[in-house]
Symmetry: D2
Amino acid sequence: MFFASDNSGPVPKQVLQALTQANTGYAMGYGADDEMAEVTARIREIFEAPEAAVHLVATGTAANSLALATLCQPFETIFCTPVAHIHEDECNAPEFYTGGAKLTLVPGAAGSDDKMTPAALHATIAREESRGVHGPQRGPVSITQVTGRGTIYALDEIKAIAQVTRDFGLPLHMDGARFTNALVALGCTPAEMTWKAGVDAVCFGGTKNGLMGVEAVIFFDPKHAWEFEVRRKRGGHLFSKHRYLSAQMLAYLTDDLWRDNARKANANCAYLAAGLEQKGAPFLHEAQANMIFAALPRATHQRLFEAGAIYHLWDGPLEGDPEQEVTARFVCDWALSKDLIDQFLDLL
Amino acid sequence: MFFASDNSGPVPKQVLQALTQANTGYAMGYGADDEMAEVTARIREIFEAPEAAVHLVATGTAANSLALATLCQPFETIFCTPVAHIHEDECNAPEFYTGGAKLTLVPGAAGSDDKMTPAALHATIAREESRGVHGPQRGPVSITQVTGRGTIYALDEIKAIAQVTRDFGLPLHMDGARFTNALVALGCTPAEMTWKAGVDAVCFGGTKNGLMGVEAVIFFDPKHAWEFEVRRKRGGHLFSKHRYLSAQMLAYLTDDLWRDNARKANANCAYLAAGLEQKGAPFLHEAQANMIFAALPRATHQRLFEAGAIYHLWDGPLEGDPEQEVTARFVCDWALSKDLIDQFLDLL
Amino acid sequence: MFFASDNSGPVPKQVLQALTQANTGYAMGYGADDEMAEVTARIREIFEAPEAAVHLVATGTAANSLALATLCQPFETIFCTPVAHIHEDECNAPEFYTGGAKLTLVPGAAGSDDKMTPAALHATIAREESRGVHGPQRGPVSITQVTGRGTIYALDEIKAIAQVTRDFGLPLHMDGARFTNALVALGCTPAEMTWKAGVDAVCFGGTKNGLMGVEAVIFFDPKHAWEFEVRRKRGGHLFSKHRYLSAQMLAYLTDDLWRDNARKANANCAYLAAGLEQKGAPFLHEAQANMIFAALPRATHQRLFEAGAIYHLWDGPLEGDPEQEVTARFVCDWALSKDLIDQFLDLL
Amino acid sequence: MFFASDNSGPVPKQVLQALTQANTGYAMGYGADDEMAEVTARIREIFEAPEAAVHLVATGTAANSLALATLCQPFETIFCTPVAHIHEDECNAPEFYTGGAKLTLVPGAAGSDDKMTPAALHATIAREESRGVHGPQRGPVSITQVTGRGTIYALDEIKAIAQVTRDFGLPLHMDGARFTNALVALGCTPAEMTWKAGVDAVCFGGTKNGLMGVEAVIFFDPKHAWEFEVRRKRGGHLFSKHRYLSAQMLAYLTDDLWRDNARKANANCAYLAAGLEQKGAPFLHEAQANMIFAALPRATHQRLFEAGAIYHLWDGPLEGDPEQEVTARFVCDWALSKDLIDQFLDLL
């Protein structure tokens, strides 16, 4: 009954097999391994982007920060939402990697802190740089797909954001830690969700969807490749035994493992959401991918925790009026089973 | 016939087994996994340091830079040798992580760029900060064990350097990317080679000695623990699925795998060195650990490369007078076999 | 008719006289001039802080950024209001000097972006660091006195903010670019407005109140002195011919010039405000110090600009419906005359 | 008898007059003052560079660091000599402003630490970046004119260095803190000593030659202008009351004050050197500009200090064998008189 995060479950056996298979003989280090050549070819094919620059790192924070640092000057500001991972959960990594850029928060629709609207983005960008050299200069826009609230930008929404971004001559970055969960939910192609919609760089996450710690950073314009490589090395994120990253990513992209895992995770979440709905727990948003926020009385949380359920409370502590509802975040990964979810729902 | 580096060979089967074993069920992320608790206990035991702060990262550059950043202010300078990995091979990572500290080079004995001498260290430190606020302030001293030249600091040499360091009130850092190769060569204990000799922080390398990419950073004074943790997260070096790092390190420390691997690597190197010596190839230094530098005529290199040998030339290009000798670096890892080395020596 | 800023007028003749007087013979550089010893003594006396560390720099951005960098780690976040100069008008200087710290915005009362309330500060601080190592760590609180909206924190308000700050164990910084304008308005002592109210460090501005470019940074705990000095040098803000800064600051503190200038500026603003009120221009806030925001129809702005008035529009461009009101910012310095203000009011 | 530095004497009366003259009425801030337009025009004329970007800052450290940061990426290394001010005397300011670039030291002729030779520069640059992504990437070359040893690069020497720099596609920066002292010694034009010889950016110093604290940063390619402006603001080096910098620089460039001052300083130094030579004090280098290094017995230093002479010892402390010679640095500024120098020589 583990709903705390999608980075706590095991990896599929294909990943272990791939590591075993890669573990023979000597291989050139630092990304010059044969497996990486295959990874690059495969990602270019999947993204229909034959020129794209493709690099691997081991964590999402590294992927986002290095990608943004490549696109952003230290005197600029990055536009993102208040719940963006890069703002809330990376301990100033984007500020660190960019050399001190700022993050400017763009509100969502109707006072929400979720998905940014094109109008709010336009207004926020317009407001910056109205003070010449005094304020931060305008920098990249960063969106998260799936968002930190578990919702998904529709293709039209991405396009509209990209249009605003392009109107100001800025690059568009997508934090795709849960890229595939969004992809299979939208039923679109990777190209459609990225460069065809106007995205310039995407962090194509593997870790939350079944790998031990592998993320691909993709720039659709290859001119960024060398600077990214140098920044990756400078950040200590270039693996000498790189083949063990490549092999995982290759297994991920083989036989649709990536999409299968995401479908499983989303299905698990839908199943959980249906169960919670039946129990009358109010949702913050509909289940779209593999994460939902639902409110339950404190007493219920108490009972669930005691029975071994693991998940995070979101808008209040466990201590307090037992009748009062507190919102919890439930994240489902590919490895959860209906049995486990049923077991949890039965506890309710 | 791969002598290019000790980070290009396979990992021992125990490491893969450990990953498989760790891959069951759900585990708390970000270092809160049960395996990490074991790793910490085991390292404290091995180092006879029951209070030590122990953290894992995936690369040596991250380990060194984060450790130094924790010990160093941005307005200070780090003292190291001209061939220190942190100076030559980390693309300004120490400067980046410290927020702009400088590296001041300390010469070795008799104009060598290898091991720093206490006298040279003393003179170099004394010279810095003689200009008050104008020059960089004195910061940590960093030594590499095994050095980038393949030599080893004797315990007395470390103690003498630590004495100088302590006289100036500075911390002493050890880059131990090849820690165990030195340890087994010296036949001493980890405690003797570190805190008992005056070392404050050590990067205890696993990657070059059989792991996929795991290094432990150890502070003997636990007061540095929290700052290191925050800096690790900010650097994007905190693994969410941390158990896969812990499991590797645990396997490494089990049944003496770490020492066995290092002994094998050193033995391979000694065997290679003996063979080269027999062929009359002049050495830069005696073989002490798992790396030697030896000079051979260009024509010989040409022949060896064509026959499939892989290693780096050090002080000149392959192109040129075929009679002229060019120094090459030969690094041996644990996985090399005598057969392969014999095959190489036969080619000579 | 210059109301664009209080940094555009001339300096009082006393400042030029002081420069002339200081311009004799040779003087030790870099802050070791005799005048600086006097400045330190005088400021300690004025602030009733015999141990305070006192340093001069030439710009307000340098003063704030260096002070904050001394109080803040790169993995922390600084709490300030949305209209704080450090957030809006310093082009990421605080992020730069701190090595990548974040700025977290604290709302004011009732959705205002002006003065932070203790309750909002408490809630904002509490929210940060609720995510352990993942979010930025809590850092200094920074308030601006006079605020960017021209209002003044009452002593009780500062104390209440300081109480919150202290409850979390954080330092409190005051951006006092218009320190003296607030001081004379409140009719209190410098000590009452700073350390007696709980302020740890203050940037005591001289530039906006009659100097060519001199600000004093004061730490009430002298333990910060050396780090500040080193950071000042590293930032290129240590003047070799430092006596020309000291001499100005000394003139400023002699014969109450500082308070006289601030009184004049405030009186000019009050006079302007009264005039505007009479003309029926709605205010954003009451005039408290030397800056007001008032709304006028676009057509009026157009007429005033054409007649030579100089000031900034705040919430909209000059282009648009001529009947529509647009808010303007009017800042008065000590050198304005009633004649000039009358001339301006007559134009209305 | 003040020979400690050329930043400790008074400023010429023309500078004070210029400040007085500039001190009337209101002026646009932040570099938009009328005087600055004149400064730009005048410098472009003097340097025969009608497109050059011209900006003022108040300190040499700021000038150098901001210029280099504009020309250098954080993952690059700057090539300079071991006695470069940017290396020895700026407390890591270049590392800070570049975001963590390294400084790589280029030796001078015959083991000297003074002027770099083209051959040594070529070899040093060639050596860097031989390790791909692992080492720092090649960045700007920086030379100091007059050097920290008081010597001057001949025009041919600058050209030869620029040729090497250009061969590697790198920019060439000149730290011209004592630009005019070199200029009048060489008897050439500013254009000949800079862009005609291959210099891309020069810090044209005023502070050591008679101003209170004003340096012009000149880029011969104006494409760098905006980035420099933003970096200057971000560094807290943009003056709001900018006219007081402009006015000084304008006075400096009027009626040949800049060249006159430098001629006086150089003549003072030549006079002092002749006197010292007569007394048999051995020189490190011939007097070329306004700074010499000469050796005297400790006992003599002791006697001179007691009689009120002020200067710095260079290669040893005052304490020790009174017969032993210790090198001292003697710097002469424009304001010294022959009388004072005679007085000093008489003491010998």
